[in-house]
């Protein structure tokens, strides 16, 4: 039994050694269970989050832009349902067949087909390709009829920006379009909410108010697999439409402005003289912003870009013009305020004025004879204002002009392209041109020529502030929560002006009155420059001042020829200007009109005012009745 004995000894060894391993096994299993416990119980939350992050993916949908409405609540920038055509490549059985079918059905160009093939290769097979962004209703029906034959095609209804009044508001609203990379990076909100196919404001208020209008994305949560393919939809979180923005503008007046300018180059602005509400702000010629929504065609774009009347420029805010005689109320006011002249002060106009060997002409060659302030304003006598400007000096004139808003932006930051214009003084010339001021320059500044450059809206604001009795107003185009009725506004700033010197633009209220009366006579008295455009009915009666701004120096020869406007080349014709306010009793509105190269202010610009005042004042009651509604704070 030696082997047996050895066997038993061996068994002992085996058992002893097994026991050691057994203990090790228990320890190791305990370790594994501890690890399981730490992963599954202690760190469960962490891994659960990671697992959800794995499987849940969010798809952002384009946010719906807020509406922009006019003062009466009419939508002027809204959203429209559009029909689109998408292809989902993974569902397509025969891509080439589908493309040929679509090509014949929708008359797609070869270029378009090429583009579709290119995007098919670029995207994942389950990501849809947009074939047509804006399908006509008939094409949409056609597609739906043939849907059985078009496997993988998805007709989609979606929402797009729409400007129902097409060209009427282009220069105020701007338009939206597909952003480029820079534009996305420039705005954090856009960056955060951007999804392919989304459009952002490119110009005007659409651009400035982007962050208010943009709205929030609707979010669809999908469960996806490891390859990013959607398996099923988990939830749909609705987005919030962007804020509704209400403007102070009146569509009827705005439309009338367009009609009256009739595609001539020019601009009309209308303003409430108490509240500063901009009733209309039209730059002509305009263009249809709807064309930009889905990418403008090259032909349309060329037509707009190459138009010599420059439709792309917002002339109301970025057009700079010599104010011409429309500056005269300010010159008169400045002289009165500085006690340079009195209403009875007279100047003899002989048709020209000599100064240091230079001749300064009055528009009336024969001269006006002895003229007082009122007559000089009425007949727009240049000689009188040469003399007054000479006595006043450009620096004192500059102070008054800047007080009334010349040389400063009117709407602040709402339009980044707005120009501030210029009203010169001696210091400005020294600093910017490096030369001393010449007295002759004071003279021509006095009749609104020379260095002075104003935007039409500045002239409108200037007129409004004369009309309201010389009080500073803050023009606005967006209705905000601080809105007050015009009576309140009127009372408020008359009260305020007692305490705040900034609000009051005059020393002596009599001086304002004198200027107002002079402007009244200019329109409503015989020999007034805008007498022909007067309205006798006191309800509509307005006071105004014409202006004719030279765009080039008139040579002696031309002066002798005394050409008719049709005989002068378009580019050399004078700009026609007119500023006015009305009704004369209890005034409410001020306007400025400019027709580029329109000839004389009295012939071209003033008649427009006559038409416009009727409409504006007729709509006054409607405007007063309009209750404030759901305004937003901006």
């Amino acid at each position: 039994m030696i082997s047996g004995n050895s066997g038993i000894r061996k068994t002992d060894v085996i058992n002893r050694r097994m026991f050691i391993i057994g203990a090790a096994k228990v320890i190791i299993f305990t370790g594994i269970i501890a690890r399981l416990f730490s992963l599954q119980v202690n760190e469960n939350k962490k891994y659960l989050t990671l697992s959800d992050k794995n499987r849940i993916r969010e798809w952002k949908l384009p946010p719906i832009r807020g509406d922009i409405v006019d003062y009466f609540g009419n939508v002027i920038a809204g959203n429209l349902k559009v029909y689109q055509l998408h292809i989902i490549p993974e569902q397509v059985e025969n891509f080439n067949y589908l493309l040929t079918r679509l090509k014949t059905l929708l008359n797609l160009s070869d270029k378009k087909i090429e583009k579709i093939v290119k995007s098919k290769n670029k995207f994942k097979p389950w990501e849809s390709i947009i074939v047509s962004e804006n399908l006509s209703w008939s094409d949409f029906l056609k597609i739906n009829n043939y849907l059985y034959d078009l496997v993988g095609v998805k007709p989609v209804m979606t929402i797009s920006r729409n400007y129902p009044f097409s060209e009427t508001y282009t220069h105020i609203l701007g338009y939206v379009s597909q952003p480029n990379e820079e534009e996305i990076l420039a705005n954090e909100t856009v960056q955060e909410r951007f999804v392919p196919g989304m459009k952002i404001g490119k110009l005007g208020l659409e651009k400035t108010l982007e962050n208010y209008l943009i709205g929030t994305n609707a979010i669809q949560r999908y469960e996806v697999n490891a390859y990013g393919k959607r398996i099923n939809q988990l939830e749909h979180q609705k987005g919030k439409q962007g804020l509704r923005v209400r403007l102070t503008v009146d569509t009827e007046v705005q439309k009338a402005c367009g009609k009256l300018l009739n595609d001539r180059a020019g601009s009309i602005s209308v303003m409430d003289i108490y509240t500063g509400d901009i009733i209309a702000m039209y730059s002509s010629p305009s263009y249809d912003p709807n064309k930009f929504l889905f990418g403008i065609s090259n032909d349309d774009w060329a037509l707009i870009r190459n138009n010599p009347l420059k439709p792309l420029v917002n002339k109301t805010l970025a057009g700079l013009y010599s104010p011409g005689s429309t500056i005269k109320p300010i010159v008169a006011l400045s002289a009165l305020e500085n006690k340079i002249v009195s209403p009875s002060f007279k100047v003899k106009c002989t048709g020209k004025m000599e100064l240091y060997g230079q001749t300064f002409h009055c528009w009336k060659e024969k001269g006006h004879g002895f003229v007082s302030l009122k007559n000089a304003m009425k007949q727009s006598c240049d000689t009188y204002f040469y003399e007054v400007a000479r006595l006043l000096g450009v620096d004192r004139l500059n102070v008054t002009a800047e007080k009334f808003g010349l040389g400063k932006k009117v709407l602040g930051d709402y339009f980044d392209f707005e120009k501030s214009g210029l009203f010169p003084n001696t210091k400005w010339k020294k600093n910017n041109l490096g030369k001393g001021w010449v007295l002759g320059e004071t003279l021509i500044t006095g009749i609104g020529q020379g260095y002075t450059q104003t935007t039409p809206l500045q002239l409108c604001l200037m007129t409004a502030q004369i009309a309201n009795g010389g009080y500073s107003i803050k023009p606005r185009i967006i209705v905000d929560n601080n809105a007050v009725s015009f009576e309140e506004a009127k009372n408020k700033f008359e009260e305020e002006s007692l305490f705040s010197e900034e609000k009051k633009l005059f020393e002596n209220p009599k001086n304002i009155k004198i200027v107002q009366e002079a402007m009244f006579s200019s329109t409503n008295e015989l020999y007034g420059t805008s007498y022909k455009s007067r309205i006798d009915d006191p309800k509509y009666q307005f006071a105004g001042k014409t202006g004719t701004a030279q765009v080039k120096r008139i040579s002696m020869r031309e002066r002798e020829l005394d050409l008719k406007i049709e005989q002068i080349p378009y580019k050399d014709r004078d700009h026609a200007l007119f500023v006015a306010y009305g009704p004369y009793i209890n005034p409410r509105y001020a306007l400025s009109i400019i027709v580029e190269h329109g000839g004389s202010g009295s012939k071209t610009a003033a008649p427009i005012a006559k038409e416009l005042f009727k409409l504006i004042i007729d709509r006054n009651d409607l405007r007063n009745k309009q209750k404030n509604f759901e305004e937003i704070e901006i």
Partner: protein, 374 residues
């Protein structure tokens, strides 16, 4: 010697049936059923290829296990060396004619499934060494000849499997072999010396590793260094297990596996899916089931009269334990990723065949536990 003879008498069929270890049998059966459910889940809740194939393998191998059990343990003792040599021949065969897949040549095509001889070697090495230590005299265990012999027995298959290349399986073969050496009574100091030698040579060994194997080790040390590349598997695996929580996401509700985030979910990472769907409670349950199996095998080893049975049972129990530990440590991020299946649960015919053969021999040892082997 009367008693002796009686004990060595062949048992009748019904005696054999009576002597089967039913607790072990039921545990294995439960594990098989459970593996089918999990396979059904990996197929996304449908009876598809993997479920069907796994089912057919269970249907074939489970009866095979019982058939093996009914052979006398003596027969297996006699057959041991032959089995070892046969598997070596198969390894030689696959190294020339084997099916090549993802860069390594380890399979041979049988009609039912592709056989991986290296999996069979995991059992063969235990059988072979168990017989060797059963026969060698206790005084000679630590003699130079004996040590050299067993080292040769272990090294031949390891080198062949490593050259396939298959690091995971060769580690498992090595540990299965070493444990029998340990049980057989090889001096502890030899283990300690060789462990020290192993540690010293480790840098050289690493320099011989294939780039992807080095990457696996680096990834194990810091899975986040390349989360979409090499670290992907282990990160996703940990996410799946961790998100399972205490109770799990529920059967067929494991998002990580259902949405294809899990790699190799049918085979090496099957536990991940199980743990995601059944949680901590389920995972511990599975470990308890495995523990029952291991303890039953150990018990059979302990009551066996022959040292061959004892060595085999203890060795096999330890091997099963090692398979589980290596697999779980891997999916739990405790060890670098080496290919090692979870016994019975993982999809794969060879692994299941080897395991079932092992169980069969253990059951045979149980039936014949009173039998001495000369």
């Amino acid at each position: 010697m009367f008693q002796h003879d009686r004990l060595n008498n062949e048992l009748t069929f019904w005696q054999k049936v009576k002597e089967l270890d039913y607790i072990l049998l039921i545990s294995i059966f439960l594990l098989s059923i459970l593996s089918l459910f999990v396979m059904y889940s990996t197929d996304g809740g449908e009876i598809l290829f993997h479920t069907k194939s796994h089912f057919s393998k269970i249907v074939v191998f489970f009866p095979l296990m019982i058939l093996i059990a009914f052979f006398n343990i003596r027969w297996w003792h006699n057959f041991s060396y032959l089995f070892y040599i046969a598997v070596i021949l198969l390894l030689i065969y696959v190294s020339f004619f084997g099916i090549k897949s993802s860069g390594s040549r380890r399979w041979m095509d049988l009609y039912l499934f592709n056989l991986q001889p290296s999996e069979l070697m995991k059992i063969a090495i235990i059988l072979c060494l168990a017989k060797y230590y059963h026969r060698v005299k206790i005084e000679n265990v630590n003699s130079v000849t004996s040590i050299m012999t067993v080292i040769t027995i272990i090294l031949i298959p390891i080198i062949m499997v490593l050259s396939q290349p298959d690091l995971g399986t060769s580690i498992l073969i090595a540990s299965s072999g070493l444990i029998v050496l340990w049980l057989g009574g090889v001096k502890i100091k030899y283990f300690i010396y060789s462990f020290i030698v192993f540690l010293i040579s480790l840098p050289f060994v690493i320099s011989f590793l294939k780039p992807y194997q080095k990457l696996r080790i680096l990834t194990f040390l810091d899975p986040d260094r390349d989360p979409l590349g090499a670290g992907y598997q282990i990160i996703q695996s940990k996410i799946a297990i961790g998100s399972g929580g205490l109770e799990g996401k529920g059967f067929l509700k494991g998002t990580q596996s259902y949405l294809d985030f899990l790699p190799e979910k049918h085979t090496d990472f099957i536990f991940t899916l199980f743990s995601e769907e059944f949680g901590f409670i389920g995972s511990v349950g599975l470990l308890v089931l495995y523990s029952i199996i291991i303890i039953r095998i150990l018990r059979i080893g302990a009551i066996s009269r022959s040292n061959f049975s004892r060595l085999f049972c203890f060795g096999f129990a330890f091997a099963i334990f090692i398979y589980i530990v290596v697999n779980l440590s891997m999916v739990l991020g405790l060890l670098p990723i080496v290919g090692s299946p979870l016994p019975i649960m993982s999809y794969g015919g060879s692994s299941m065949l080897a395991t079932m053969i092992g169980f069969g021999i253990v059951l045979s040892a149980k039936i014949n536990h009173k039998q001495m082997i000369a």
